[in-house]
Assembly symmetry: C2
Homo-oligomer: 457 residues x 2
């Protein structure tokens, strides 16, 4: 039973902040499947990955045994700039819904990158600096990850080269300006700086680019430049490890006030936020200590958990990265152009995929107009304009709270509010103008995409 | 002497939040000059103001005696949505500057409106609702105030009509979308909805509008619509009263850790943030209990304190509002189109004008490229992309910290960080592209503008 007088916002003291990341893989009974070398079909070795990723990050990526990784002091210091993030009791939303449920959300948007991505960006930049690298490369679509990485690289005085999908570069100049303000070089992709960029520009003159192409350029740039490595903002085990700081803080805050979560909800694109949020709760669930309902929420237009297949696939559409076993729609799958709500990744983190396959979590898909209705309601009563991605979790939190109302149940619902929507107002405009629609891929489209995958067990 | 171990962010407990606003006028030896009726030259009476403003707000506007106004419970509840705001110890900035000074900033940007404006918007919306009004009207330039008011009106289910300067409406669609998401109607000004709008459109076909015209339309709409009043986000006594919550929280946080401020710095446009921040400190200064240095920072392109004249002027360029005695550049003064840094108002709050005239505070003006240099530095080390307005205070805080470094002085510098710059990226882009310049009005321009003012002592 929760104590009385829970404040609107629970802020931990600095002394209560986690000092280690938690590696859920150490406690998983069925470990996530390893990355495979697409040439040999064999598990990727550390030395193979070290050409692309920083050494320490490779260790974190491959380590399924160590439960806790101490957070280096430099990263802890940086975390203090914007963490601990608040765990907010959604009193206003509860009142609006008239629900007996208690709703809490962990808000990760109070930093300039506007999302949880910074938690891993600063870790990846730190290890790159520690290794003596000159800089890192990455790709970005809408720009959330690129912004976070720019901030992190600026802090460690590290060069940051971002390949931004050309259509976003041109249509979302504001994200680009934030990155430039943090000293990053932002290149529209496909560019004329890389072999693959030049080849694509030659083959498709006037192309506006794709995430797959931007990844390929970023990887090529990293492996062909002295003192550079490639970094990635989601999907990978290392990223989920860093993001465990979200879940650890959430659990400490709940424990401090004697609150027992019943349902934990997170949006899921590549899985970085959800994996981080649920980590310490899933630990208790695996150990049989608690029985949380854990719900992944994905867009109906990109439903990798609910309509995808659990198998090996490329991590990128350009097929330059290793193969990962995951719930996937096929690396060639591209959500409808009408989809404005983020979470466009074709696959899902191997860790989460294994947990889902083991029946330890649920997944639901939601339509984007329903997501934006929830976003608008939330913005109006809770005073935060949520990112479209985060609003997937809001939608299901509201739905669950309304079920509690029907049944008269006073459950504790906890969800992850990953970020703000200040740079997503084109999507809000579509919603406000009533021109947003709900395209959902057909079974045939998904089957055709999956048919192109390599046949690896 | 400050206690050890000051955290990066000082968050007050909810129980430590102020429960009254503080009215500095009650303790001023020389009271601010009254608003005058432009027709009669006599002080505006409550009944004259009541046609334009809400009744309770008129009382607050005219009351120079009551020191504390209890904050109604409904507003206190709303404040808990985004307050208390953090007082941040700028450890990273101090380290970057290598200064022995301790720098603190009160950060008001952690709400969706992105600034301190919400503190007064919610109060004004509350009193409008309490009076049984249907709605309120206002004008907005860049959109910060309009956004705050939209949020506040949405909370109290009050209609909100915003006249947005046409050029901003067209060039800053994202602010507009936030307002629409909160249910406000946003009309580009000049519109065809009002007499003055139609007249201006007829006289200047294709005009892109001005703040003066938008004010005139908002006032006309309020006084000609049943159940509507006009509300304003700065300059007025009532607004400074509501904004005192900033200073009260700041002082409580400093006192809690035994920190004695030496220098208090705020940016000054109409004066709402500065007036709120300094209120409880100025009280001690007036009473001779403490001797703070208090510094107003204004743009060199709109220097009302440092180069204006202290006299009666219209509050608006359209000359439909009462006359106020203030430091002013003349109500016809318009800053250079190159000025991207906000704080464009031609005059200054009567309260602050009187305090400045009494020698109780200093004022400095800064050039905008220097402001953006400070903004960029701050963003990189403190992880917050500041609003251009707020960055005026950052500039002078840095300058003072560097003086402390030269002199080896361990002073406590406190400044107000009023908001975030997410909707100001066009200005950042100009800076990043190196095309921002520093136009400063000539003495002749200012003299010519002042020559047009009514001659009232």
């Amino acid at each position: 039973m929760a104590k009385e007088n829970i404040p609107y916002k629970i802020y931990l003291e600095e002394s209560e902040m986690p000092t280690s990341w938690y590696n859920l893989r150490a406690d998983m009974k069925n470990k996530p499947a390893p990355l495979l070398n697409p040439g040999t079909g064999e598990p990727m070795k550390a030395e193979e990955l070290a050409g692309v990723f920083c050494e320490e990050l490779v260790k974190q990526e491959l380590d399924n045994e160590t439960a806790y990784f101490p957070i280096p002091k430099e990263i802890l210091d940086f975390y203090k700039m914007y963490r601990p993030s608040p765990l907010v009791r959604a009193y206003f939303l509860e009142k609006k819904l008239g629900t007996p449920a208690h709703i809490y959300y962990k808000f990760e948007g109070n930093n300039t990158s506007g999302s949880h991505k910074l938690n891993s960006a600063i870790a990846q930049a730190y290890y790159a600096k520690k290794q003596g690298l000159k800089g890192v490369t990455t790709e970005t679509g809408a720009g959330q990850w690129g912004t976070a990485l720019s901030m992190a690289c600026s802090y460690f005085d590290l060069d940051c080269k971002v390949y931004m999908v050309k259509v976003s570069y041109e249509q979302k100049p504001f994200r680009r300006e934030v990155m430039r303000t943090y000293g990053a070089s932002v290149t529209p992709s496909p560019s004329m700086e890389t072999n693959i960029g030049r080849a694509i520009n030659a083959e498709f003159p006037g192309t506006t680019g794709s995430l797959g192409c931007a990844i390929s350029e970023a990887v090529e740039k990293a492996v062909t430049s002295d003192g550079y490595r490639y970094v990635l903002g989601s999907v990978l085990n290392q990223v989920l490890l860093h993001q465990s700081v979200i879940g650890l803080e959430t659990k400490t805050a709940l424990d401090k006030y004697g609150i027992d979560a019943d349902i934990i909800i997170g949006c899921a694109g590549g899985g970085s936020n959800l994996g981080g949020l649920i980590a310490p709760f899933m630990r208790e669930k695996i150990k049989g200590e608690k029985d949380y309902r854990i719900i992944a929420v994905e867009p109906a237009s990109c439903p990798s958990f609910t309509r995808g297949s659990y198998r090996y696939d490329f991590c990128d559409t350009g097929k330059v990265c290793p193969l990962a076993k995951m719930y996937t729609l096929g690396s060639g799958f591209i959500p409808s152009a009408n989809h404005a709500g983020g979470l466009r990744y074709h696959g899902m983190s191997s860790v989460l995929s294994q947990l889902y396959d083991d029946g330890l979590m649920e997944a639901v898909s939601v339509k984007q107009t329903e997501v934006f209705k929830a976003a608008e309601l939330f913005a109006r009563v809770e005073g935060i304009l949520p990112a479209p991605e985060s609003s997937h979790a809001i939608r299901v939190a509201i739905d669950e709270a309304l079920k509690c109302k029907e049944r008269g149940e006073e459950k504790n619902i906890v969800f992850g509010l990953t970020g703000t929507g200040y740079f997503d107002l084109v999507a809000y405009q579509k919603f406000n103008d009533g021109v947003m629609n709900d395209y959902i891929p057909t079974d045939e489209e998904i089957a055709a995409s999956l048919a192109k995958l390599p046949n690896i067990k």
